[in-house]
Symmetry: C2
Subunit: 307 residues, 2 copies
């Protein structure tokens, strides 16, 4: 390639995703300067202390000034507000993107705020951990994970292609997807599972009054994984559920139906139904391992990712 | 200690738990001879090929002959039947134990089958993976995990203490627990989470007809963990739910209640309720990490366990 895709990139919000993006950008050496901004003084101080971003600015407007790419890395619920804040300072011809876990609501909130002379190209990297904040990022987070680019109607091809190349340089595989379809697929693969994990851990929390700390002490496989999922950032997830309401409620409805059927099989002692159901779900796991989205290794291949 | 606790140990059933026990026994070097038996010729052949057990027998009765400790490592639903099979061949004074994930139902099924001159000491090691079969075991499975010993009324102290020492030599930490209490705690920490994971993966499987293979392709954190849980052995889990029916149904009832409350908060846009709930569940995760039942490391510390 000839020269960098973007000379200057601005990251608004400096949490898990933004900090991972910064370290991945540095690893790839593909951007001239990366500026950053976060809402709180505390996060900006931390960022300066650990060298997160080439320059940390004290306002979102200052951070986006002269930037060729601006990436909104804030919770889904404040994307619109942040877009309004930066709009007057955006360089004409710049690309504005985001990393929000929901796409339709972000598009609805952000698009009307932006001037006509910038390109808006929403995206969503399918990568994360249960940790958050400026110190939780690492360069390898996006390696071999998907990044879904979700363009809106009428966007020129070049900014889309540039954003795609950018994410590929950060280690991700990119696919283009329609916003509503994105929200439905993610409701199945991520949003509803998170709600369920939060619920189960909440039930256990209630029961601690009965079983004391035994629920924690004897926490077995299954529940332990749920607690990890349910340790994710409350603000991020509140915003995800509120802004992907329809798809989440639809999948939850189906989930409840199936759960009632299994509950009934337990109550009536219908072992055949249970065995059949549990056999069917095994095949999905095989599919995921074959698709390279997870590993069969006892450590999930995570040791390798961190090397 | 002076001499081995048991000169001869018999493992009935040669799957994940039994094979891990065998390798852990060898690592500790604490038993004279370990015999083994599994139902199918195929499993017995595999065991002989990979050197699982010092001697693989062609009947359960032959395997338990002269054994000082017999451990039933078969699915919960066949424990009673296997106990009846071995009863006539048991050595007077021997200890019979099991590793079943449910305790009350196993006690009810096994106790009446055994002769009066053996000691029955049920147990449950809280350790497992989603894999099964004779080739899935490894010596480190029980290291630093709990093994709950669940004695029945009237059992002498020596056989209980011996089984406790045995499991400690295999790497586990042992606690004594009441059977019904065991079944309730496990319904919360393991059985209900497994049912929920199976259900969610089943929902996704239905939706593949809608979203094609995208559910697999874009499988994100959360769902990916569920598929691992839901890849566990169907027979084992069918038996667990059928034999821990009451506690599972009770916890499921509570789960459904809480899920409905969260569903309602999403529908009505009650962000405060969601945020509060998601904040509360974080504390449980901290408790588990502090209790040493999981690690904060991205690889769950599993790399270390396998070293
Ligand atoms: N975590 C995941 O697994 C994951 C995966 C894919 C996509 N995403 C998406 O990525 C985005 C960021 O998530 P994250 O995990 O990186 O979150 P995070 O670690 O909690 O960081 C969020 C950042 O946004 C900043 N922020 C919040 N409100 C703001 C405002 N009004 N103006 C400016 N900055 C503000 C926060 O600043 P302070 O530190 O000053 O509060 C913080 O730096 C979310 O939209 C999420 O849906 C997350
Ligand atoms: N997996 C876990 O995470 C876990 C954790 C703690 C406790 N447990 C408990 O441990 C026990 C064994 O589980 P596992 O995971 O080791 O199972 P597994 O890998 O599926 O192995 C089960 C073994 O039992 C044998 N078997 C089945 N029916 C039999 C019968 N009627 N007579 C003789 N042998 C029979 C099987 O023989 P074939 O190979 O010939 O079919 C196989 O060798 C279960 O009670 C389970 O609840 C499991």
């Amino acid at each position: 390639m000839n020269g960098p895709i973007y000379n200057r990139v601005a990251l608004i919000g400096l949490g898990l995703i933004a900090s991972s993006m910064y370290w991945a950008i540095k690893r790839a050496g593909v951007v001239g300067e990366v500026t950053g901004y976060a809402r709180s003084q505390a996060t900006r101080d931390t960022a300066r202390r650990i060298g997160l971003c080439d320059r940390v600015c004290d306002s979102a407007a200052a951070a986006v000034e002269g930037a060729d790419l601006v990436v909104l890395c804030v919770p889904v619920g404040v994307m619109g507000q942040v877009a309004a804040e930066i709009a007057p300072a955006l360089k004409p011809g710049a690309t504005v993107s985001d990393v929000g876990s929901v796409k339709r609501a972000v598009i609805t909130a952000v698009e009307p705020q932006l001037p006509d002379d910038v390109h808006f190209v929403p995206a969503h990297p399918l990568a994360g951990t249960e940790h958050s904040g400026p110190e939780s990022g690492f360069a390898e987070l996006f390696d071999n994970r998907w990044c879904l680019v979700v363009p809106v109607n009428g966007t020129a091809e070049t900014p889309i292609a540039q954003l795609q190349s950018f994410w590929e340089l950060l280690g991700a595989n990119v696919e283009i997807m329609d916003p509503d379809h994105h929200d439905l697929v993610l409701a199945v693969t991520s949003h509803t599972p998170h709600l369920i994990a939060y619920t189960m851990v909440g039930v256990a929390d209630d029961l601690r009054r009965v079983t004391d700390s035994e629920v924690i002490k004897y926490s077995a496989a299954g529940f332990r994984d749920f607690t990890r999922i349910a340790a994710s950032d409350p603000t991020m997830w509140r915003d995800v559920f509120l802004s992907n309401k329809d798809a989440t409620l639809e999948i939850l409805g189906r989930f409840t139906e199936e759960l009632f059927a299994l509950q009934r099989a337990i109550r009536t002692g219908d072992g055949e139904h249970l065995h059949e159901y549990f056999t069917r779900t095994r095949a999905i796991r095989r599919g995921i391992i074959e698709a390279g989205q997870d590993t069969d290794a006892p450590d999930f291949g995570r040791a390798k990712a961190k090397e």
